[in-house]
């Protein structure tokens, strides 16, 4: 993998008004991969993208493209094109001219422009829209014009800043598939920004989880989901139960006043840890001495599953199950050692509130 790194960020720091919005970001992006920057609003995703696009110069750190330092290369000289957060189509040009914009600048012959624009219009399913005014297009159509306008330049890399943010759910799902198809067909690198974890997991080869200007975790969607490095990632990627625990020894953890076998090791003896269990990994069973037991508080039908909230000594457990449960029932909760994820305490560990029993995560 080392040799096909296309973009490399090294110790990037960006400050606005003295405040660091990116704190030492380092990231290698591989050629032809679909990589997603995921994180809550204001965590620095757009800023990271703008560094690669050339619209922000880092206060310190280096940006490499194909091994060459490009910190001071202006945007128009980079082999990168961007689909902006709000599309930014040119209102004085029609759909055709918007898409042709980059080629006209390069003085490509009229005939070639024509064939390539028509090709692009076809690719994004807008063949009959060439003469339309961009202001009268729907959100999804504008979106596709923005993608065509960027792709026609055959960039090595496409940067997409929450391109589907303004679309309704149905259209968003369709466009996700569409985008993934385009990326695979054209074999170019996509750097995709979103704060929608589901979108990130379904589309990406790798996901970069960011929070407060730092990268928390980089990995495949499976890695990130199954082995979150800390409570923040666990909470942000999918839903999870996060509870305080104590490592008694390797493979031996205590939480909810009970001892469990687990697959994690390498912690100090009696180290305080965060324990993460996914709601879908918990099954409802008859209460025994070995299980964590509680009272069913609410049951909500969510379509594919029921969401069951169980109160156990003030902590609210969340269970996703295809089987329903009766409100008020006293039940046990079952999970295997494989389902228990132990992680080191971090800044984003939940502050456990003994009174309400709610675990909250700093975001």
């Amino acid at each position: 993998m080392e040799n096909n790194v296309i973009v490399s960020l090294k110790d990037i720091v960006v400050k606005y008004d003295g405040e660091q919005v990116l704190k030492n970001i380092s990231l290698d992006i591989h050629d032809k991969e679909f990589i997603t920057l995921l994180g809550p609003s204001g965590c620095g995703k757009t800023t990271t993208l703008r560094i690669i696009g050339g619209f922000v110069t880092p206060d310190s750190g280096e940006v490499f493209f194909d091994g060459k330092k490009i910190n001071d290369i202006p945007p128009y000289k980079r082999q990168v094109n961007t689909v902006f957060q709000k599309y930014a189509l040119f209102p004085h040009l029609n759909v055709y001219e918007n898409i042709a914009f980059g080629l006209r600048l390069k003085k490509v012959p009229e005939k070639e422009i024509n064939t390539r624009v028509l090709e692009m219009l076809e690719l994004v399913n807008l063949s009959s829209f060439g003469r339309r005014n961009v202001d009268y297009l729907s959100g999804g159509q504008q979106q596709r014009v923005a993608i065509a306008r960027a792709l026609i330049n055959h960039p090595r890399m496409l940067l997409l800043d929450e391109p589907l943010g303004a679309l309704d759910l149905q259209l968003r799902k369709e466009m996700q598939i569409e985008l993934k198809k385009i990326q695979q067909a054209l074999k170019i690198t996509f750097i995709y920004v979103t704060h929608d974890q589901e979108e990130a997991l379904t589309m990406s080869d790798r996901v970069v989880v960011m929070n407060g200007g730092i990268i928390n975790q980089i990995g495949t969607p499976q890695d990130i989901y199954n082995e979150p490095v800390n409570a923040f990632v666990a909470k942000f990627i999918g839903e999870s139960n996060i509870i305080h625990g104590i490592m008694h020894a390797d493979y031996d953890v205590e939480f909810a006043s009970k001892r469990f076998k687990c697959l994690d090791k390498g912690f100090n003896k009696m180290e305080l840890v965060d324990v993460v269990i996914r709601p879908e990994d918990i099954t409802v069973c008859a209460p025994t001495d070995e299980t964590i037991n509680g009272t069913v508080e609410t049951v909500t039908f969510k379509g594919v599953h029921y969401e069951i909230i169980v109160d156990s000594f003030g902590f609210k457990w969340k269970i996703h199950s295809t089987k329903s449960a009766k409100q008020g029932d006293f039940i046990g909760m079952n999970f295997t050692p494989d389902d228990i994820h132990i992680m080191k305490k971090s800044d984003s560990s939940p502050k456990f509130n003994m009174i309400s029993g709610e675990a909250t995560v700093n975001e």
């Binding site: 945007p75 902006f84 040009l93 980059g102 006209r104």
Partner: protein
């Protein structure tokens, strides 16, 4: 929805325009084609014929106004762009500074220019004499008149340009850079086309008052630089050449010329617009 209500609201404006725009125009038209002698009013072309003798002055006025408008555009365009990129509170200060001179009487400001440009004792030449340069003769030249015009009318160029430029979304500029525009082509392909409405109204708002300039031209340019505005004035103020019939005829001629100029300009404007869209 309620069309009737809107129509009622429009009545005061229509009355206003009738009294202060349509009637004066009609009067000018009537005066321009009538004469008064012992038998009363009569229809005549004499006034127009008389006015036509001043065609050279008219051409000179159009020429001066064109030069002044071009200078205004060249100076104001970058300034308006820079203003639009400033921080918001700085923008407000700049707008104030641009408008500030408009709060002072233009006669006063013109006299101030006279004392600056004066050949023997003006500030400019006294300043230059420190470095043993000069004296420069600007006073009572065409340059002085054009300077006066530019100085007086440049706010009417800056403000519409600035107003349109603050509306240009910065992301469009970034999108253009992203697609391969350097600074020059960003202007040519995005900023200039998008600021076209501002350029058009700026030119109109500068050219029209500039072409009918009066007093400024007399004070700064001297008698040999009298413009059409001065001529019209002299026919309407009592004493001297008082003759509202001739005055109206010259006014009418000026109006026709302004219409033609704007017509030509708009024609050119549309072509230019289509050109930049390519």
């Amino acid at each position: 929805m309620n069309n009737k209500k809107f129509k009622i609201l429009a009545v005061p404006y229509i009355v206003w325009m009738l009294i202060f725009t349509i009637i004066p125009l009609a009067l000018i038209l009537v005066f321009a084609f009538t004469d008064r002698n012992a038998e009363g009013f009569r229809f005549t072309f004499d006034n127009i014929q008389f006015a036509a003798r001043y065609l050279p002055v008219l051409i000179k006025s159009v020429y001066f106004a064109t030069v002044a408008t071009i200078i205004c555009l060249v100076v104001a365009y970058p300034l308006a762009y820079i203003m639009s990129k400033m921080r918001l509170n700085h923008q407000r200060t700049m707008v104030m500074l641009v408008m500030l001179p408009m709060w002072m009487n233009f006669l006063l400001r013109t006299y101030a220019w006279m004392s600056i440009l004066e050949t023997n004792s003006g500030f400019l030449n006294r300043f230059l004499s420190i470095f043993n340069i000069g004296p420069v003769h600007i006073m009572y030249t065409q340059a002085a008149v054009i300077l006066g015009m530019v100085y007086n009318y440049i706010p009417y160029m800056i403000l519409p340009l600035y107003t349109i430029m603050i509306k240009i979304d910065n992301r469009l500029i970034e999108a253009a850079q992203d697609l391969g525009c350097n600074t020059y082509s960003v202007f040519r392909k995005v900023i200039i086309p998008l600021s076209f409405p501002g350029i058009t109204s700026g030119i109109t708002m500068t050219f029209v008052p500039a072409v009918s300039t009066f007093v400024i031209s007399q004070l700064l340019g001297g008698p040999k630089n009298n413009l059409i505005g001065d001529l019209i004035e002299s026919h309407f103020v009592s004493g001297g050449e008082y003759n509202p019939y001739y005055g109206s005829a010259i006014s009418l001629l000026l109006m026709v010329v302004v219409f033609i100029c704007i017509g030509i300009f708009n024609q050119f404007d549309n072509e230019e617009m289509e050109e930049t869209l390519k």
